[in-house]
């Protein structure tokens, strides 16, 4: 019994180390100045300083890439959340076979490899003669984010009392008021998790962005890093940037988890 417990402990630690070592590695080496990865030349905050003062090579390119990434992720996930919620309500109210078919169709884009989504969207935009750039990247991101929102909102709909919308109408709410005051608040947790998932999916997307950004030199963080690494080694300042991004996402996750456990405690 005791040895079994020890093995269980060791196993979980191995899993954790393998999972987090690469991130830890980058975080540690963001606090040294060495150009090549893996060389420790003493503790230094210089890379962080360079990142924020902009005194690094091609810093404007990096800053605009970060900006693009965040703006595209925000626009795409807001629109995907709205579309996905409406779609989920629609699919939920279908009956029998139609509902199953729509659910199945919603699942396909999620299991479809990104590269195929990327290439097929590229071909679609070419076919429709839409010049590729910012708009096409946003459209593409909305496309692959929406199914995730549908997937997150659907369980909230099944938990919902089927009469709740009618109850609001019955008490004098117009259909719009009923949607705003009753349906949306009830679906909000699903919409929020759908939004966060969309946001992170959009943030780290490479394949789809790569194929839909066209030739106008639009870069998001992922395409920028890809190009940067191909040019001859990673710019050292990317290490602190990644560390910061990781910490930011960690904080957001923690806040969500704490809020959720508080909510479930209240009930």
């Amino acid at each position: 019994m005791n040895t079994r417990k020890v093995f269980a402990r060791i196993y979980i630690w191995i899993v954790l180390v393998v999972l987090y070592a690469p991130i830890l590695f980058i975080a540690v080496f963001s606090f040294t100045e060495a150009k090549s990865l893996g060389n420790w030349t003493g503790f230094s905050m210089n890379l962080y300083k360079n990142l924020f003062t902009g005194s690094m090579q091609n810093s404007s390119g990096l800053i605009s890439a970060v900006e693009n990434t965040l703006v595209i992720a925000l626009i795409a996930s807001v629109i995907a959340t709205l579309l996905g919620t409406v779609a989920a309500i629609g699919i939920f109210n279908l009956k029998g076979r139609k509902k199953n078919v729509m659910n199945f169709l919603n699942n396909i884009p999620m299991i479809n490899p990104d590269i195929i989504t990327g290439v097929s969207l590229f071909l679609l935009f070419v076919f429709l003669h839409i010049s590729q750039g910012y708009t096409t990247v946003v459209l593409a991101h909305i496309t692959f984010c929406t199914p995730y929102v549908v997937l997150n909102v659907m369980p909230k709909l099944s938990q919902l009392n089927p009469n709740i919308y009618e109850a609001a109408l019955d008490l004098g709410a117009t259909p719009m008021q009923a949607l705003r005051k009753v349906l949306v608040p009830a679906l909000r947790p699903g919409m929020i998790s759908g939004f966060i998932l969309s946001f992170t999916m959009s943030l780290d997307d490479f394949a789809v962005t790569f194929f839909t950004r066209g030739t106008i030199g639009l870069d998001t963080l992922s395409t920028y890093i890809y190009a940067d690494a191909r040019k001859g080694g990673l710019t050292p300042e990317l290490k602190p940037l990644m560390t910061i991004l990781f910490l930011l996402i960690l904080v957001v996750l923690l806040i969500i988890n704490i809020r959720q456990s508080k909510n479930s405690n209240k009930k």
Partner: protein, 462 residues
Amino acid sequence: MKENIIDIRHLSKSFGDKKVLDDINLYVRRGEFITLLGPSGCGKTTLLRMIAGFLKPDEGSIMLDGKDIAGVPPHERPLNTVFQRYALFPHLDVYDNIAFGLKLKKTPEDEIDKRVRKVLKLVAMSDYEDRDVETLSGGQQQRIAIARAIVNQPKVLLLDEPLAALDLKMRKDMQIELKEMHRKLGITFIYVTHDQEEALTLSDTIVVINEGKIQQIGTPTDIYNEPVNAFVADFIGESNILKGRMLRDRRVAFIKHEFDCVDEGFGEDVRVDVVVRPEDIYFTTDPAKCQFTAKVNSCTFKGVHYEMYVDTDTGYELMIQDYDPYPVGSEVMLYIDPDDIQVMKKERTENKYTGTVTAEGTVEFLGAEFECDTKGFEVGEDVTVKVRFEKVDLLDHEDEAITTGHVEFILYMGNHYHLTIRTESGEKIWVDTNDIWDKNDFVGIKILPKDICLEKVTAANE
């Protein structure tokens, strides 16, 4: 003010091919407690939803205070609904749930406060205003749902099986409270339930609905004592439903005995159905009073009374309820008061369809081809097909069956079962049988060629 608050005329509704409500005519008096009663799927909830405005009728009109409200959306109707599973808003607390309707109407804050507190007191939930609705028990949630509806002072309160999810004890308590609330508020209540006991307890008027049609409208005592057909008799309370023959006015024969009764106007020597409630069959020791004898078959204590099954000297099984038990196996003398015999017109005496002769020796009806004697009829000719109830064979397999169906309704008639079978083609066939089947059983249907009777289609048959 008109006496009738709601007037429903020729209301019909279909979902796809299925007619769920068929030519409903009903009025509701101001201030009354009216109950729509029927088995699940009979259309009662559909009717309530149309009054609330969630469904649009295909045909007919619903008048509220003399005005047709067909085109009025639910949020503009001065009616409120208490839903089956409460349908409280989970993100709002008790107070905000109740205040929801008043806030939408832009009622002043202090007025809202006053009214919310008043209804909370009425439903005995005064200290719960800040509670999260999901922390409340089923009964408490139901009270809040009722409070949320009546705080808006609707002209009519619609209740869709509001007590169905509560346990028995809670249900009984809430029934008394609902009745009390109805008395205090003076609002018209339209109540939907499948529970006949609940309907009898609560209502001023009961509307019995089956298969989209109103079967009977009346006070609880009317419905109980004078059911108009076998369905109502079987659905409301316990009953002995038997085949009978009206000999002349005030004289009826059933279970192979003759009885005096109080019914008139059926004609002479007419086949009828007879209902006798189990508490209306009396034991006697006086041979002069005895109308027939029977042997006690079983005797079960039911709390207040004993429920006994007896076999009559003529081979019929009857249910009797009495305060005193009689030992199993004993011979007893029985009589029935003329007042307690309810005679009903027979709805049907045999199966009757319109069919087509498809070839020499076969006829098509019920969506299948049956063999029979087609002498005297031409191929392709439309004919009237008649089959007696007892001539339909039911099989528990498909092998020799001509068509198949499901048992939809079972009526015990003292010495045999009268079954309603829904065939694959969606039509009905009625069967008299001694075999025991369960509701929803799958059955194979077979009719011997000699038992299928063909007739020329005449104008009278159409």
